[in-house]
Symmetry: C2
Subunit: 173 residues, 2 copies
């Protein structure tokens, strides 16, 4: 994992002072690193009956789309408010630096449907725990929340108690 | 292509009256349709020296990430203003219903680098032509602009003159 970690660029004080932002674009644009990261995130879900990967806007679309393609299943989009054109159900959540609202099409998941949630970085866990609640309210079974990277000091896992969580790369700050 | 076209849901009057919005989420969440669409969009670029797929925020991230994964290359993100953490170069463009600004990391492409631009829908072509200009200014060679769907009546191709354009599914309205 060391080689993959090195491909992530640290940007101090973005988007506000004091935040060490993990820039994943440098990993995504490196062919070998990108392929390896997606393989490692996807392989653990092979032949376990997962029916879709749920990608969270916007960088979660990258992880979710590639993982779903690799797994031979579909990808479901969770989007910022007002972006999805059909009838939606929504969840509000608190960000590391702000507040926001996410939506999913009301017919995107069926009761009992097994899904994996994908995003790029697990920080405080506010976003993904809102998405998990939303999916459960719709009757989906969230098999795992799967991240490229995790900022362990922000303790996002605590917000996801009772939920299986996987992160490929762990950062202390 | 008929089976794939049927998987796209038409939403009248979204986001404003008079627009027939093509909802691609119903195609993306269907495993066979999603796999087939990505295969058909990616296969044409196999072994032609393409070094990266450029995905346009946000639904272009889905197409771009999956295509790049399939092709064994990296994915480069073009994002809305203020989203990319490192130094960026920007392009302004006019949308079908509004104005906006896109950015790319200034070190995302090298001079002479062969890239394919991916997005979900070619409408008026304003967004993608701004992205093509931006990439060319950075010295990239844009091999093709590749779309899941095209709204042919909006004549986006005319804005992309001199540029190779491919769309998998064509809609008249």
């Amino acid at each position: 994992m060391k080689a993959l970690k090195k491909r992530i660029r640290n940007i101090p004080d973005f988007p506000i002072k004091g935040i060490q932002f993990k820039d994943i674009t440098t990993l995504l644009s490196d062919p070998a690193s990108y392929q390896r990261a997606i393989d490692l995130m996807a392989h653990r879900h092979f032949q376990k009956g997962v029916e879709a990967v749920v990608g969270i806007e916007a960088r979660g679309f990258v992880m979710g789309a590639a993982m779903a393609y690799k797994l031979g299943i579909g990808v479901i989009l969770v989007r910022k408010a007002g972006k999805l054109p059909h009838k939606t159900v929504a969840a509000e959540y608190t960000l590391e630096y702000g507040k926001d609202r996410l939506e999913i099409h009301e017919d995107a998941v069926r009761p009992g449907m097994k899904v994996v949630v994908a995003d790029d970085v697990l920080a405080t866990g506010g976003t993904v725990s809102a998405v998990v609640d939303l999916l459960k309210r719709q009757g989906a079974v969230v098999v795992e929340c799967c991240f490229l990277a995790e900022l362990t000091d922000l303790r996002g896992r605590e917000k996801l108690k009772g939920q299986k969580v996987f992160s490929l790369l762990k950062f202390r700050d």
